[in-house]
Amino acid sequence: MTEDLGNILKEKLANTSIEGEIVNLEPLTGGASKEIWKFEVNANGKSDRYILRRGSGVEGPLAIKTSDEAKIQKTVRKLGAQVPEIVAVSSLDEELGDAYIMKFVYGESIARKILRDEEYKNTLPKLAFECGQSIAKIHQADINEFPFLPSKTVFEQINDLYQTYVSFNQPSPVFEYTHLWLKKQNFGEINDALVHGDFRLGNIIVDKDGLKSVIDWELAHIGNPLQDLGWICGNSWRFGNTNKVVGGFGDLADLLKGYNSVSNYHVDENMVKAWQVFGTFRWGVICLIQASAHLTGSINSVEKAAIGRRVSETEIDIVDLLFLGGK
């Protein structure tokens, strides 16, 4: 299979200026829903590293096409946002399938390494500020550049998530409570923007100097930009460092300082809580979606089966936020 894929890649890259021998093609541990491969192209005695990102063909209800992820990255890169350089895009009807190839970005994306390794100890204190700046830059993109992206108000999203949860026929008292609570919240009146949708450790690449690149755009959409700020503050993305509200490494004040240093409007700390609860509920429903792909038999995957038992992580986070003074 690897050899076949190597040939397909070579053919695809022949349409660009990248020519050479494809070596060291290896699968990487990626998200639960996409294949990720790294490889090198050798030519004229030098070697360049690339990443292939490829949809499995079975998309979740929230995920966009992999080739559309590439379009977004090309656009925001022009605006100065930190994203990998895309070198080739493939559509579903091509042999490579729904996929794109990007230049390899040197750095680390694995959350636990970033949080623990000595190498990043100078990065972590400023990372919340840099994430805030980076998120704000993404939000400044002109939404008219993305006619292919779904556009949803928060209340439409809440309803979609709720109906998805209902469709799995696994009633959760905590999710029912959350749904009622969310419907009564004020999520802030802010103009629609490009929302990354999954901005957190795991989907950013950092090195010892700071934030290098924002990856994994499959949950991108048009909507209220505050969603990205609430998402990175969810406990699901603190990887055990529960007292560090932003991604397990930073404080909300620093994230917002970074955001407000770039943004045209000002975001206060009290605007984030409803979005934290929303984000936690959203992650819970995404876990249900992932597990259902296994349970309905469309994919037999122990990884997806296991994620069904992570729904309870989001339930305890929500009761902590709503009833027990959790931050």
Binding site: P27, L28, T29, P171, S172, P173, V174, F175, E176, Y177, H179, L180, N235, R238, G240, N241, T242, V302, E303, A305, A306, R309, R310, S312, E313, E315, I316, D317, I318, V319, D320, L322, F323, L324, G326
Partner: protein
Amino acid sequence: MIFDRPSSIELLKAVNHFLDDKIKSEVPAHLAFKLRIVENVLNIVIREIELGQELSEDVTKDLKELIELDAANIDDLASLIKAEKINIEDESLKNLLVKLSKNKIAVDNPNYSTFKKLVE
């Protein structure tokens, strides 16, 4: 139970030990990551066999007091909340939702940060 030892839990623990001791070092990195998930899954099953009944009954007992129905289950509670036929500001409802969430995570992932914070 009519079955001999090893018990179901002992069998699962033996499988987990085998995976950890003999297989983990033999597989490439992307499979080692999945192997860890497999071990976690087996640990969930072990905890559910060991603690599941007690944790469920602990919730059901409070639930029956709250909604005063003998056959009340979690689905009934979800329906009552959905229809707002229960006062959602009621402290005993909130306490029950906390207990339900704690008892579920105690099986699914007792190392989860929020659970550890709340039980410490």
